[in-house]
């Protein structure tokens, strides 16, 4: 393409000096004048708000460091808050679960290139903000200590650290000059550094524990925190970091890592559930004689069928046979007396067969599709084997696990299960098929019109009436089910909002290319619809995370219930409500804040393709 040539200089009659560039006025004073003191009203507002804020923070700190506070009610009950009454000799189950999630997360973060780079200038700003907060808090603490005639020991250290955080990065940034604006520091490196510091802290830091002096007086003895957990935590964190490193090395060298990771995540859910709650007594001979042949048979023979069905030559016959297999599978649920495993696998084969022409296009796509089929079969077989095996634990795991572990189990399973269900419901509600649309609408409206607490109550007390006798479904599973079904309805409405934001032109463009409905939905419509509603989806995730505290009503000991009812009932902490509640609030805040920051990053990262 040829470019138009314009005259290089145009005389507009502006004197040379007037056009000379001048840097705009800047600096802290200019900022304060334009933002805090721009008008008399604004100035008054600024001063009053800052004074109010300072008074509140000072008051809260005074309360927190008061000698009457029993913070050790939290420290000594940390095991209770984390896992409630889970038996100590079975703690390895918890650690194995946490560790495998850490390893998977490390690998996935590396593979999906989570995290970006940050500039020194931005890092120094963050550091300044942290330093300012830390200094102010330690100053306030110091005042309180001096007023109460106590020695401000740690506060001086904190103040020094705060001041270092304010000034050192700033000085370094100034020395770098313009280079400081270049984003060069990998954020995941910072995260790893933070985790290493955390490891160091749990090995070094000490906290006061009530003890007896040599003279027999009750005094505080300083002991290392996290005595029994510091080794496992170190192993977990280090293996997570190591997994990130391994993932970084592997991600460009190994093909199909994506499928492996996704199926590992999917598989990890039932496996972790079984490790924590059942410790299944697996019948290995049966695994070899039943599961392995079933998996191999369905993967290989089914794979051959799918490969044939994906081919253009099989055409309508492929779709017809897949549909027939699907119907036979459904019918077998009611009419044929055989293993459930066969029935479900047949239904899955039919479903995959119907999808085959859509996704089995090019050889590469077909290979991925077949790998997807084999791993789905693996998931099905593993889930059935685990559900079939008797529990080898001498206790009902779900009655003993509580606290933060339970909160997490409910939240993670709830989110992971309700998300796909919500998307399907939203697609159903917006579909043109009247029966499907009516059913989905009815479900969504019914679920949303009743409070979650009612659904939880129903799942705990009414559910048993509707299932055949003898079959017993775990309390935790029922709670997860109720949370999932409830949250899916809300997610569906959020996703529907996203679907409605997609213009008619997008559908028409996909139609004009000859794409099928499934292709259009999965490549064009859903990616845009979900991206449009990320804030709402994250809001739903956050509220689900907090709503898990409602399981207290069906006798599960979640984090909040322990803080509210259990700790204040212990003889040495009788009646001390606030400490544990505040600690729980901080825990909730840390995770929900992390969610919302992560969602902001996600939005930014996906925001490239917006109009």
């Amino acid at each position: 393409m040829e470019q138009k040539q314009y005259p290089v200089s145009i005389d507009l009659g502006i004197p040379e000096s007037a056009a000379a560039p001048e840097p705009p006025p800047s600096g802290p004073w200019v900022w304060m004048r334009t933002n805090l003191f721009s008008s008399p009203f604004n100035s008054v507002l600024s001063v009053v708000t800052v004074a109010l804020l300072a008074a509140v923070v000072h008051g809260v700190i005074g309360w927190a460091i008061d000698e009457g506070r029993l913070w050790r009610a939290v420290g000594q009950n940390s095991r209770l808050l984390m896992v409630q009454a889970y038996p100590v000799e079975h703690f390895w189950r918890v650690w194995v679960s946490v560790g495998s999630v850490a390893v998977l997360a490390g690998l996935s973060f590396a593979y999906f290139r989570v995290g970006s780079k940050i500039a020194w200038r931005d890092l120094s700003r963050i550091s300044m903000a942290f330093g300012a907060v830390l200094s102010l808090v330690s100053l306030s603490t110091m005042f309180h200590f001096l007023a109460a005639d106590r020695t401000p020991r740690l506060t001086i250290l904190a103040l020094v650290v705060g001041l270092i955080l304010i000034f050192v990065p700033r000085m370094y940034t100034a020395r770098l000059g313009d280079a400081a604006k270049e984003p060069t520091i990998p954020t995941m490196g910072l995260v790893a550094l933070g985790l290493l510091v955390l490891i160091g802290l749990i090995w070094i830091a000490q906290a006061p524990v009530p003890g007896v002096s040599e003279e027999g007086f009750n005094i505080d003895v300083w002991e290392p925190i996290a005595t029994s957990t510091k080794l496992p935590w170190t192993v977990v964190i280090l293996s997570g970091i190591a997994a990130f490193g391994i993932g970084t090395v592997l991600r460009d060298r190994v093909e199909g890592l994506r499928q492996v990771l996704i199926s590992a995540w999917v598989l990890s859910a039932p496996i972790i559930y079984m490790i924590l709650f059942r410790g299944p007594d697996i019948d290995w001979p049966e695994v070899l004689t039943l599961d392995l042949p079933v998996w191999l048979g369905f993967s290989v023979l089914g794979g051959l069928f799918l490969r044939w069905a994906a081919d253009d030559k099989s055409g309508e016959l492929g779709r017809f046979l897949s549909g027939a297999i699907f119907v036979v599978g459904l019918a077998s649920l009611l009419f044929i007396d055989t293993l459930m495993l066969f029935k479900v696998s047949t239904i899955a084969l039919g479903t995959f067969g119907m999808l085959a022409p859509t996704f089995g296009g090019s050889p590469a796509a077909r290979r991925q599709f077949l790998i997807g089929w084999a791993s789905s079969m693996l998931v099905i077989v593993v889930i059935f084997r685990m559900a079939d095996s008797a529990s080898a634990l001498g206790f009902r795991g779900s009655n003993f696990l509580g606290g933060l572990a339970l909160t997490f189990a409910l939240a993670i399973f709830g989110i992971a299960l309700s998300f796909p269900l919500g998307v399907v419901l939203a697609l159903g509600r917006t579909s043109t098929m009247p029966i499907l649309r009516t059913v989905c609408t009815f479900y969504i409206e019914l679920v949303r019109s009743v409070p979650l607490i009612t659904w939880l109550f129903a799942s705990a007390n009414l559910f048993q009436l509707f299932i055949p006798g003898g079959l017993e479904v775990d309390n935790v599973v029922r709670a997860i089910g109720a949370i999932t079904l409830f949250s899916a309805a809300y997610l569906a409405e959020n996703v529907r909002g996203g679907l409605q934001s997609i213009g008619k032109g997008q559908y028409e463009a996909a139609d004009a290319l000859g794409m099928s409905v499934v292709q259009k939905t999965s490549f064009i419509i859903l990616p845009q619809a979900l991206k449009a509603v990320i804030p709402a989806l994250v809001g739903q995730v956050i509220s689900l995370f907090k709503d898990t505290s409602l399981v207290a009503i069906i006798g599960l000991f979640d984090l909040l219930l322990i803080a509210k009812n259990v700790i204040p009932g212990q003889s040495q902490f009788l009646g001390s409500f606030m400490e544990a509640i505040v600690a729980v609030a901080v825990i909730y805040w840390v995770f929900t804040f992390a969610f919302s920051r992560a969602s902001l990053r996600l939005e930014k990262r996906l925001g490239l393709g917006t109009r």
């Binding site: 309508e316 463009a509 004009a512 290319l513 393709g609």
Partner: protein, 246 residues
Amino acid sequence: MPGDKDIIVCQGVKKWFGDFQALHGVDLSVKEQEVVVIIGPSGSGKSTFIRCINRLEVHQEGTIQVDGIELTNDLRNIEAIRSEVGMVFQSFNLFPHLTVLDNITLGPIWVRKHSRTEAEEIGRRLLDRVGIPEQADKYPGQLSGGQQQRVAIARALAMEPKVMLFDEPTSALDPEMVKEVLDTMKELASSGMTMLVVTHEMGFAREVADRVLFFDYGSLVEEGTPEHFFTTPQHDRTKLFLSQIL
């Protein structure tokens, strides 16, 4: 020059939107390699008509055949015809969440079932042809209107269509970008593509069209060569329309 074989044959096509009749029985046949320009006042049914040809609108009476396949409710026929017929829209309708190259390769990969490498080769060749090879990895939102419309043309061409439909391709463009799109279309016409173009660009019609159709009130009022059309129009409504826009 047009060939001998009819590639699009429409007979008595009628279309209603609710009670409003948009098409009053349109008969038209288009030969291979023919460039047909459709003009007419807004609301005359010209866009509706070409959108019927790839079934973005459903006609209620009459028959439409594309390359020997009749458009019925049979999904297989619809998908087959759509993959033979490329379409370029007034408002581009690029997929904003995909890069330019991904926009182009999506159809070849998933509908034509090419491998990714083949599809990307096709995509880059077409971007080269429409004159913007350097934009392959950008997102549509980062491109000017004219560039976006050229990507849309490349996206339609990537399906190797037998017919291209253009629905007012330059109406949403800033004046200085109209030319680059028209140039691309001229190049396409001279390469022997069968084209149906709804447009208000009379210069393009005069220069490129083999045949010009005039639509009004949902029917085909007059048709002829550009020469006949712009010098000796027969129908009063055609004369009135031309006098208003020329």
